[in-house]
């Protein structure tokens, strides 16, 4: 397992709390978000408009900025562009009410690290923040072979082994396992998996993720060995080596 770079995205296992700036004009949503993030161990500062956000960013160092797309006075995208223009490289996750792809492309091009559509579960946001920080700390390498515990996935050669034994998998099953193994020890939510494995930027009616996880568990099942995939209730799945 790789050692996470400082600051640790895993707020649970570190003494240093992550500092988050919430930029959201809806006072109630902002308060809810601050409370929920506080509950997860974040140190939160909340501001209601773009101008205050820019001032706050100049004064304090944050680990992550949660930026509403639609803000009064200065728009979220403008705040982002000004930030990046001034060389502030703090990771930014855009919050949007609309979820249009054009917005997402625009946001990512302006320098956002990720994008989340309201409403979202706090766990979904938490998982995404951690994923963004991980990506910043150790950019994804195009490793052909991924290993976690007794499982090895070779994406290019389409080969999976557990405890030295080859396990035949379908294409999608292999891609799903590769994502879980790559992010071993971290929770991946259903929308994150749908995006990364299936290429969906929408949530289908039927739960295609759960069906594949079930199949993957059956395939990886070996007498005497524990189930390496952990279900995190109401959030997603995690590979435990």
């Amino acid at each position: 397992m790789r050692t996470p770079a400082s600051p640790s995205p895993d707020a649970d296992d570190t003494a240093i709390a992550l500092r988050a700036l919430v930029v959201e004009d809806d006072a109630e949503l902002s308060a809810l978000l601050a409370r929920q993030l506080g509950g997860l161990g974040y140190e939160v500062q909340a501001v209601g408009d773009g101008r205050t956000a820019i001032t706050a960013l100049a004064d304090t160092r944050f680990d992550v900025v949660l930026l509403d797309r639609m803000l009064p006075v200065i728009d979220g995208i403008d705040v982002l562009q000004r930030m990046r223009g001034e060389g502030v490289e703090t990771p930014v996750i855009l919050l949007t009410a609309l979820g249009m792809t054009a917005e997402r492309v625009e946001g990512l091009e302006a320098g956002a690290d990720d994008y989340i559509v309201k409403p979202f579960e706090i766990e979904e946001l938490h998982a995404r923040i951690r994923a963004v920080l991980r990506r910043r700390a150790a950019p994804a390498t195009d490793n052909a072979t991924l290993t976690a515990g007794d499982v090895t996935v070779s994406v290019l050669r389409h080969r999976v082994t557990r405890a030295g034994k080859v396990i035949p998998l379908q294409k999608t099953e292999l891609r799903l396992l590769a994502e879980l193994v790559r992010e071993a020890g971290n929770v991946l939510t259903r929308p994150m998996l749908l995006e990364r494995v299936w290429g969906y930027d929408f949530v289908p009616t039927a739960n295609v993720v759960d069906v594949h996880i079930l199949k993957l568990r059956q395939r990886l099942d070996m007498p005497g060995l524990p189930d390496p995939i952990v279900t995190v209730r109401g959030v997603g799945y995690m590979f435990c080596a």
């Binding site: 309201k118 409403p119 295609v208 069906v211």
Partner: protein, 448 residues
């Protein structure tokens, strides 16, 4: 007359008719000139003939008169030929290579008379035997006339040329203006609402048309912007409190003191999720219909995309007791499109088939090509949709009574149709006998 519908057809026909009419009038003028000259020459040789034969002269007297005539200026250019009773030439200055018939006739080059290319001849039988033939040149155009004719032809030719060039210039101008209007209209259709017709000068018919057209587009743009900001505001203002409601319910469901009513709260969370999914689908349709996503089109191998999607959903279908199969396309099928939207289109169609068929159903995804297009079909052998209800199934919120109890928001097929239209394709429902066939046509790469 069907060709006259195009600008090119009209100008081609016009140029053809103009040249035809010009040539025809030239020919008519020439023919009229020839017959006028013939009549005049005929009159002249008839007068000379009467003069020579006046008072029943003997052959010798005729020969003498001919000799005299040949020396006078008025009749010096006339050819004479006197033949005796045995048809031997006895006087005169011309002998046509071919015998000339009695009466008036036309002579050509075949008569082989030096200096004569066209002439008229009058041969009269003499009372005492023998014949007298008079020949005069009837060429309507002499050497000077030939030059004049050339000048005339050049004049006519240049008129035709000027007119044809004029037609061409006019056609080109009209075509350029139509092209500008069309280009702008197509850009608007593709979602670039800021596109305007280039106006070189506000004066003139085309400038005025372009300016009016642009004013109309400005007006439409204002209305669209107004509508979009209203729907964005509605979406924002409705989704934000919904998001709060959802967040609170979800938090409440986790609270330990909620245990006795947890089931109800979880159901309420599910309800709010359904409303939010409906919003997401509505906004997605609005975005697709806005057309802005055409800007992000890339070249896609539909065969690979479809195989990938089917592979990713096969397990889900199997889990529900259905079979999802795809016939491999074999070769790449390349189109220009938005991969994410096409993914959503196919996922929606497959999900739709899974939601409305009983377990045991086979869902087939087929991909074929036709000239200039790709054909994607999702067919099932389930209960299908009766012909009269198919149109309604494609309408927004047009869920059929039989499917009200099923999961989903009823926007899957309308969203699919909007995505097909964004790609300048179409989506239709057909009878798969038994079952439903959803057929999607998408233009091949470089076509739309």
């Amino acid at each position: 007359m069907r060709r006259l519908r195009s600008l090119r057809g009209i100008s081609a026909w016009f140029a053809l008719l103009l040249s035809g009419a010009t040539a025809a009038s030239g020919v008519a003028v020439y023919l009229a000139l020839v017959s006028a000259v013939d009549r005049q020459v005929d009159l002249r040789i008839e007068t000379e003939m009467r003069d020579v034969l006046a008072g029943h002269p003997t052959l010798a007297e005729i020969a003498r008169r001919i000799a005299r005539k040949q020396q006078t200026r008025e009749s010096g250019d006339i050819g004479f030929l006197l033949r005796d009773i045995r048809d031997r030439p006895i006087a005169g200055n011309v002998v046509p290579a071919k015998p000339v018939p009695i009466g008036l006739s036309t002579l050509g080059a075949e008569a082989a008379i030096p200096g004569l290319s066209r002439g008229r001849a009058l041969r009269t039988a003499l009372a005492g035997g023998g014949t007298l033939t008079l020949i005069a040149e009837s060429e309507p155009i002499d050497r000077h006339d030939r030059k004049r004719l050339l000048i005339l032809a050049a004049g006519f030719g240049s008129v035709v040329l000027i007119v044809v060039a004029g037609i061409y210039a006019l056609t080109a101008t009209i075509r350029a203006n139509i092209r500008a209007l069309r280009g702008t209209a197509e850009a608007i259709i593709d979602g670039d609402l800021r596109a305007r017709v280039p106006v070189e000068s506000a004066r003139g018919a085309f400038g005025g048309l372009a300016a009016t057209y642009n004013r109309m587009l400005d007006r439409i743009g204002e209305l669209m912007a107004g509508m979009r900001s209203v729907s964005n505001d509605v979406a924002h203002d409705l989704r934000t409190p919904l998001a709060r409601l959802h967040g609170r319910l979800a938090a409440l469901a986790r609270a330990p003191e909620a245990a006795p009513v947890r089931q109800e709260i979880v159901a309420a969370v599910a309800e709010s999720e359904e409303i939010l999914a409906l919003f997401a689908a509505m906004l997605r349709i609005a975005e697709v219909e806005g057309g802005a996503r055409r800007a992000g089109f890339t070249r896609i191998d539909l065969a690979e995309l479809v195989a990938d999607i089917v592979e990713g959903l096969a397990l889900l279908a199997e889990d529900g007791g259905r079979q999802l199969v795809a016939a491999p396309a074999g070769a790449p099928i390349v189109i220009d499109g938005d991969a994410r939207l096409l993914t959503q289109l196919l996922v929606n169609l497959v999900e739709n088939a899974m939601a409305h068929t009983p377990p045991g159903t086979t869902i087939r995804v087929e991909l074929a090509t036709a000239p200039g297009e790709a054909l994607l079909s999702v067919c099932d052998d389930g209960p299908g949709i009766p012909a009269e209800a198919r149109e309604r199934a494609l309408r927004r919120f047009g869920r059929l009574e039989t499917s009200r109890s099923k999961p989903g928001h009823g926007l899957g097929l309308p969203l699919g149709a909007a995505i097909a239209q964004l790609h300048r394709g179409s989506l239709v429902l057909e009878d798969a006998a038994p079952g439903l066939a959803v057929r999607v046509r998408l233009p091949a790469a470089g076509i739309a």
